[in-house]
């Protein structure tokens, strides 16, 4: 099987640590359910991601060099 997370077009997905997550939620003044979602079975997710985790995605952007996006893992 191909591991898509190694593909050059798939941006880096990492599970966000609890503390870092709290900072993010505070920065935007939101609940974690207000974040964009990502499905648990998404092949780009790291193996250790569980439902309820928040994923940090660092991807190349057309307007800025890199953009950071957070997503909540749902089923």
């Amino acid at each position: 099987m191909v591991d898509v997370s190694q593909h050059e077009l798939v941006p880096e997905h990492t599970v966000l640590e609890e503390e870092a997550l709290e900072d993010v939620l505070e920065e935007y003044n939101i609940d974690r359910t207000d974040l964009p979602k990502i499905k648990r079975n998404d092949p780009a997710l790291p193996d250790e991601a569980e439902i309820g985790d928040v994923i940090k995605i660092v991807r190349d952007s057309r307007t800025t060099d890199q953009s950071i996006v957070y997503r909540l893992v749902v089923e």
Binding site: Y28, I30, D31, D34, L35, S61, S67, I68, V74
Partner: protein, 975 residues
């Protein structure tokens, strides 16, 4: 309406209404189906009871005491003789019946299961997912249970016959059980099933032999366990379906016993709604204001459809009660019950599949409650979203190059109809009196005045003089539109925000709206009969907002690509090209004439002195007069030359489309971003007027002779085409001899087609090149093509050289008859001519066959555009609907209405394309910005002071105000 304050809506909740609530809010109980008595007075407790509100002007409402217009009406109620089902809830009723116990009404889930579903529901609510997914899953789980987990009662399937009938389907012993058993015991020799004796059967089923015999004789009905045993032993089915109709009253009793905790799992809030309220026992009667009756010319009253329906309901309701009291047979009662159900159903929705719609006497289906709301003309789409407005005008548009791009010419008859409210104060009382004294017919006049006591008076020709004397501070005058008023101007389809812009009014004679041609691109307007809409703004807030945000000059930069969408077009570009291409010389009169419509009224130092000793000015110098004094710019221009501007002087290059045109003209773009919208507006206005003067100075026309070429060139073109035809013949010959080698990934046929296409398009290009050689650079068509004003060299090629290959679906024309395109050709003729190659030019004229092929290719283009516009329009509509609720918040995030984040930073960089200058090399042109900042900081102490102190941009308040400010003159204070 001035005494009512708007109220904030805190929250809305949707739920069911309790029958008791219907009774409480009811103004009266309705018992008679009659509406008016013989004298024409409404009957008490009838459908037109005066307590239900007033519709006739002058009467007083018996409930609230208000008059018609201010009384909204009051509900009444009908006590239904028997409960009926509410059609709007049939699906939910079915779900509840299937999911709850027929005996104890509890949800058929164990407590653990129930809690689990409740947790899922909470989670879904938090993630704003569809709650139906969970409730449906809960019902599905509940239906799997054969027996109630609480009382052990066997559960039966519920059948729903649309629209409002429910059956319980039970499996019961068939009446022909003895025959079935006996038949099965006979066995079947062909199938190899052996005979069964009663003894064997008794043994297998563990039923006593005597019982078996009794069963076989039909004198004993086997019990359920016995039936199952026999079925298993003989491999037969002894059951038949027995349907048991559930009456609405049964369902109501059933639902009353459903515990509150169980309803929650099904997504119903038990504090607000109880499921038994879905079965109506009381019917609310809408107020008369919702179903007004009309008096016809002959004095007869015509009632609303809803009233007709209510009459039916009351009649049946009464008959039902009478029959029941008289002890009528069950069959009749049931029929009446069904009839009552039908009328209540169609009262709410008259378009239910499976039920005949209730009809008017004339045969027209009645328009009942749901029909009032649904569809394009319904309450939502027709009345609430589709508002029509006053103070709007629509007429044909025509061009007026003397207007500023911020202005719109408004016909005087429109200006006299559309008014602006003027609050009279000590300072404008003189003006106000003048307007009023001009009356409604004179221009700038007034149509209405409002006295301080709130009374509104119409200004007429007769009373205008007297009225004018009475006008004092504190009055309101509705005066006509005058020059300088701000209005909103719009052309459909309104696809982007530049389709609706604010303009300043210039009142003009005749009947069309006039606009400057440079605003055609944002509106996508032309003058072949286009019409546009105008809206006069009615309060100061709207006018201020329009002026600051919506004026044309504020929309100069398109948010789509961040460059200017407004700029010189067509003849402006040709004119600028003529003015700057060879840098022609002008004498003083000519130079002043070129600049006469601009702000420039003094020429600069002459560019030089010619041989005869008269001073001259060059095109560059004339154009440079329009540029800001400190503009520096260097870029590659339209015709590929280097354009150099230093200190506001054009030193090199031709000014054409890429310099001053729409959609990203470099100079316009830079001026907008560096010097502001007002300066850009002045520049575009002046460029367009200068260009018009220039093009008139040189003269510019085009005719058929401009596209004809000398005979010598024509014969060279003919040669090229003959040459190409020969080469095509060679290719065909090679193909027929199987000598053609196929290209990689193509069949031989495709290879041939490709090569022929290549050869022919090369031939057309060659013909075009030959034609080009014979066109002078001052040929008007060439000027237009080079400057980017209109047309391209391809158009010229087609006019003078050869039209070339006609294509349908990107291929040579291959359709028509069997094996050939037209009957003029041999079958399977592969030649250029037979497949739509047009070797003539538009000037030389097409042969009939060429003409036909050309029409085929042309038709495809037309169909494509027609299909594309409708497809892309629909796509855009759907995108807009999907994205319309997204909003950039103050923290830079983009969120939807439920505050879910869509983008963490708007556009990932948090910048607006309009506020950022960018080009191919740089997303943000930092270098340029930094240069500008440093320049102004380090040149001298004064300059630095100017840099540190803010340099006020000209205001964007009004056309006239900013001209003064741009010049640097001060506006004197009012007091």
């Amino acid at each position: 309406m001035q005494d009512t304050t708007p109220k904030d809506i805190g929250s809305l909740s949707f739920g069911l209404m309790e029958p008791e609530e219907y009774r409480e809010m009811s103004a009266t109980k309705i018992i008679t189906a009659d509406t008016y008595d013989d004298d024409g007075f409404p009957i008490d407790m009838g459908l037109m009871d005066p307590r239900l509100g007033v519709i006739d002007p002058g009467l007083e409402c018996k409930t609230c005491g208000k008059h018609s217009g201010s009384c909204n009406g009051h509900f009444g109620h009908i006590e239904l003789a028997a409960p009926v089902i509410h059609v709007g809830f049939t699906k939910l009723i079915r779900r509840l019946l299937r999911g709850t116990c027929r005996e104890c009404s509890k949800l058929l889930l164990t407590e653990d299961e129930r809690d689990e579903f409740r947790d899922q529901l909470d989670e879904s609510r938090k993630l704003s997912r569809d709650l139906n997914d969970v409730t449906k899953a809960a019902i599905r789980q509940a239906r799997k249970k054969d027996r109630c987990p609480f009382c052990g009662e066997i559960q039966y399937d519920i059948d729903h016959e649309k629209p409002t009938t429910y059956y319980e389907v039970q499996q019961v012993l068939t009446s022909e059980y003895s025959q079935s058993i006996a038949g099965a015991m006979q066995g079947d020799e062909e199938e190899g099933v052996e005979r069964t004796t009663p003894d064997e059967l008794a043994e297998q089923t563990e039923i006593e032999l005597t019982r078996v015999n009794e069963i076989l004789s039909g004198s004993f009905r086997p019990r359920e366990s016995q039936r199952k045993a026999i079925e298993k032993a003989l491999d037969i089915d002894l059951t038949e379906e027995d349907t048991n109709k559930l009456m609405p009253s049964d369902i109501r009793d059933w639902f009353e016993n459903i515990p509150d905790e169980d309803i929650e799992v099904l997504g119903i809030n038990p504090d607000r709604s109880r499921p038994e309220w879905m079965i109506l026992t009381v019917l609310p009667v809408p107020p008369v204001t919702a179903r007004p009756s009309i008096t016809l010319d002959n004095g007869q009253r015509s009632e609303d459809d809803l009233t007709h329906k209510l009459v039916d309901i009351i009649r049946i309701n009464q008959r039902f009660m009478e029959n029941r009291e008289a002890g009528a047979p069950q069959l009749i009662i049931e029929d009446l019950w069904e009839l009552l159900q039908y009328h209540v159903t169609t009262f709410m929705d008259n378009e239910i599949s499976g039920t005949p719609p209730a009809r008017h006497r004339s045969g027209r289906p009645l328009k009942t409650l749901s029909q009032r709301l649904k569809g394009k003309e319904g309450r939502f789409r027709g009345s609430l979203s589709g508002k029509r407005v006053n103070f709007s005008a629509r007429t044909v548009i025509s061009p007026d190059p003397t207007l500023s791009l911020n202005e719109v010419g408004v016909p005087d008859r429109v200006a006299k109809e559309m008014t602006q409210t003027m609050n009279v104060t000590e300072r404008n009382v003189e003006d106000a009196r003048r307007f009023v004294s001009n009356g409604p017919e004179g221009h700038p006049g007034a149509n209405y005045v409002r006295r301080p006591d709130g009374r509104r008076l119409k200004v007429t020709e007769k009373n205008c003089e007297q009225l004018a004397e009475k006008v004092e501070a504190g009055w309101e005058v509705n005066r006509h539109l005058i020059d300088g008023d701000i209005v909103i101007f719009n052309r459909q389809p309104s696809l982007h925000r530049m389709s609706i812009m604010a303009h300043e009014v210039v009142v003009m004679p005749y009947k069309t709206f006039r606009l400057n041609t440079v605003v055609c691109p944002p509106y996508n307007a032309d003058f072949d009969g286009d019409e546009m809409n105008m809206h006069a703004l009615q309060n100061e807030e709207a006018r201020a907002e329009a002026r600051v945000l919506m004026r044309v000059q504020e929309q100069m930069l398109s948010p789509r690509f961040g460059e200017n969408i407004i700029g010189a077009i067509q003849d402006h570009i040709s004119g600028m090209y003529l003015l700057t291409h060879d840098n022609p010389r002008f004498n003083e009169t000519q130079a002043l004439d070129l600049l006469r419509a601009t702000r420039i009224d003094e020429l600069p130092e002459p560019s030089g002195i010619d041989d005869e000793g008269t001073p001259f000015w060059t095109g560059y110098d004339v154009f440079s007069e329009l540029l800001p004094d400190d503009l520096d710019l260097e870029f590659t221009g339209t015709i590929g030359d280097e354009v150099v501007i230093e200190d506001g002087q054009l030193l090199q290059g031709t000014i054409a489309e890429d310099e001053v045109g729409e959609f990203g003209g470099e100079i316009v773009d830079t001026i907008t971003k560096v010097y502001g919208n007002t300066r850009a507006r002045i520049f575009v206005n002046e460029v367009s007027t200068l260009a018009m003067r220039a093009i008139m100075h040189f003269g510019f026309s085009i005719g058929i002779d401009d596209e004809t070429i000398p005979g010598e060139a024509q014969s060279r073109i003919d040669e090229t085409i003959a040459d190409a035809n020969d080469r095509v013949e060679e290719l065909i010959e090679a193909y027929e001899n199987n000598e053609l080698e196929s290209l990689p990934g193509r069949t031989i046929d495709e290879t041939l087609e490709m090569k022929i296409m290549q050869t022919l398009s090369r031939a057309r290009d060659n013909a075009g090149n030959i034609a080009d050689e014979h066109f002078q650079d001052d040929n008007p068509a060439v000027v237009m093509a080079n400057s980017g004003a209109r047309g391209s060299m391809l158009n010229l090629t087609q006019m003078a050289g050869a039209v070339g290959q006609q294509a349908v679906r990107g291929e040579r024309i291959n359709r028509g008859y069997e094996d050939r395109t037209l009957s003029h050709y041999e079958p399977n003729d592969l030649s250029a001519e037979a497949h739509g190659f047009v070797e003539n030019s538009y000037t030389s004229g097409l042969t009939p066959r060429e003409f036909f092929f050309h029409a085929m290719g042309g038709r495809e283009g037309l169909v494509d555009t027609a299909v594309r516009t409708s497809k892309s329009g629909y796509l855009q509509r759907r995108l807009i609907n999907a994205l319309s609720e997204l909003e950039t918040q103050y923290d830079g995030t983009v969120r939807d209405t439920s505050d879910t984040i869509v983008q963490f930073e708007f556009g990932e960089d948090g910048t607006s394309p309009v506020k950022v200058s960018s080009d191919e090399d740089n997303d943000i042109d930092v270098e340029h910005i930094a240069d500008r900042v440093l320049d102004s900081e380090f040149e001298s102490a004064e300059e630095r002071q100017e840099f540190l102190g803010s340099k006020p941009r000209p205001t964007n308040l009004s056309e006239h105000a900013d001209d003064r400010l741009a010049e640097g003159t001060e506006v004197t204070s009012d007091d």
